[in-house]
Subunit: 369 residues, 2 copies
Amino acid sequence: MTPAPVTPAPAILDLATDVVRLTRALVDLPSESGEEGPLADAVEAALRSLPHLSVERIGHSVVARTALGRPERVVLAGHLDTVPAAANLPARLDGERLYGLGACDMKGGVAVALRLAAALTAPARDVTYVFYECEEVEGDRNGLHRIATERPELLLDAGLAILMEPSDAGVEAGCQGVLSADITVRGARAHTARAWKGINAAHRAAAVLQRLADHTPERVVIDGLEYREGLNAVSVRAGVAGNVVPDTCVVSLNARFAPSRSPKEAEEYVRGLFPEAMFPPEEYAFVVTEAVAGALPGLEHPAVASLVGVLGAEPRPKLGWTDVARFTELGVPALNFGPGDPSLAHTPGEFVPVAQLARCEEQLTAWLS
Amino acid sequence: MTPAPVTPAPAILDLATDVVRLTRALVDLPSESGEEGPLADAVEAALRSLPHLSVERIGHSVVARTALGRPERVVLAGHLDTVPAAANLPARLDGERLYGLGACDMKGGVAVALRLAAALTAPARDVTYVFYECEEVEGDRNGLHRIATERPELLLDAGLAILMEPSDAGVEAGCQGVLSADITVRGARAHTARAWKGINAAHRAAAVLQRLADHTPERVVIDGLEYREGLNAVSVRAGVAGNVVPDTCVVSLNARFAPSRSPKEAEEYVRGLFPEAMFPPEEYAFVVTEAVAGALPGLEHPAVASLVGVLGAEPRPKLGWTDVARFTELGVPALNFGPGDPSLAHTPGEFVPVAQLARCEEQLTAWLS
């Protein structure tokens, strides 16, 4: 007899438990990008049980809104997905740290937002909670991108968005832009026993790598925050066979640029480092493969200023690209504020400090009450 | 009913036909490295039918020797295998050129040697004919290496070896040595948004590639022949992910060195280009992965001088590595002499000029008669 297929019972999230237990429950519900269904189901079910929220499901993303008619509305957003597991499941509480896949990036932040969604039945500001899928993968799969495209009205009425990405429980304002480009260095193939009949593209690529090594990235100050730019070869690929002079060497660049530059300006800046007189295009073909704007910190915005005031901590610049840029594109000022050290994101040993979970919950509760 | 398995009839080689038809028949008996069995069977059968030869089979290699008690003995050697087919079968005669897989490298040379084996029943010098497997693959599978290891007495009594590798029907003397090495450049990994926390190994590799680009290989004259050395990066590999500063960049080198240098001297020479003061070993780890000696041209040897005299052509230096080096290691002077343009070897369009097949056969017949 073949046993009937077993449908696992849907996971149940208890939003009334404390934030550490809730984070732990979220970590123990695996949700690598593309596999967020069960977690999204659990989040949706928990939120639908709260009468003060109206809930919508879009793919494996969930949006829940209060509708109290407050003069101001804020978004609290967090992604449900994680990078692939690295022998870091299940969650493990070790003194003041909760370890496990996504504990830092960003189930701690999601837990804080879920706690607020349950506890704040009548917040001083209307709140739109957004829990979304596929942040860790290609941008066209990103759940926030999908909501912004298909249902922008769910986001556009907010005066401020708080992305609960790990930022050490401080405010990280704006974010830098990202530009990716390939420089394809051309040579001529030959047998290494008669190398003088060819041109070694890898040798020729020395000039590109040396240019990058010599370059000092700029530091750009905006609203008193220093954005430290970067320009790196993230990949070098050359090689045909062990006895062949390679005719191609591809150097892939990753540039991080301050939000005061547009993607077009960033491209001009990077291209300008490789002038055609020294890097003729027939030998060094420069192709931009991706260019995404950053987000200005917008500290002068009253909603941002008010939050910063309540938190009582100096904002810092966000150096990595985050989805705050998507809100900026929609015209909604946005910042990063969430528990966890951002430099631990995507590391097998990631953890979130218990104290930061508690502090983020308290401070946002205070600001929203 | 399942048909009984069909064993194909063994191919029959007619050594009395002309050298062009014989080359064609050899090309049409496919023998990629490792698949030489049927061709070796046909060669063995054809040679065993000749009463003036004693024949031995070793793996898929065949050795046939005259035993006339002549004061001098020479080896005529050729490999039976080819590189993989590239839509270049069957053989095709187009005017003065015979096209097809292995026509140039080196079934033309094998055909000449087979013709001599059949025709010269009483040569002026005793001859050892060697037809061997697996020249185009790793050295430990090489049939000549196996014979030299298991049955060295079959080779050691010769005063000269002629390797019938394509050399445009001229004498290419000696061969260059080969040295392969990896330089592993170390850095420190970091997220590209915080690149200053890391060290980009690809940027650091610029110094290695620039050193190679600046290097002028030497030209070494031996016995009046110019050996043109070479030093090339044949592979560059760096890259962890699109947003990660790479902590490792591996540059693989291929050096061709004149036969007057030993492998040890070649290693010292190449290492010397990367002095530790500029390339500290903890940042630039240099590891030799292969070092194979070349072969001196040995033009002063009487047997070589006599052959060169009969051929009436100036010897040229052999730049690529060939099995002449194995004979040199055994103490047997060796040179390359065979039909076909060496630069066509391993190309899909390889061919052998009909005129060169005829000329090589005539000249060796004259020298051996």
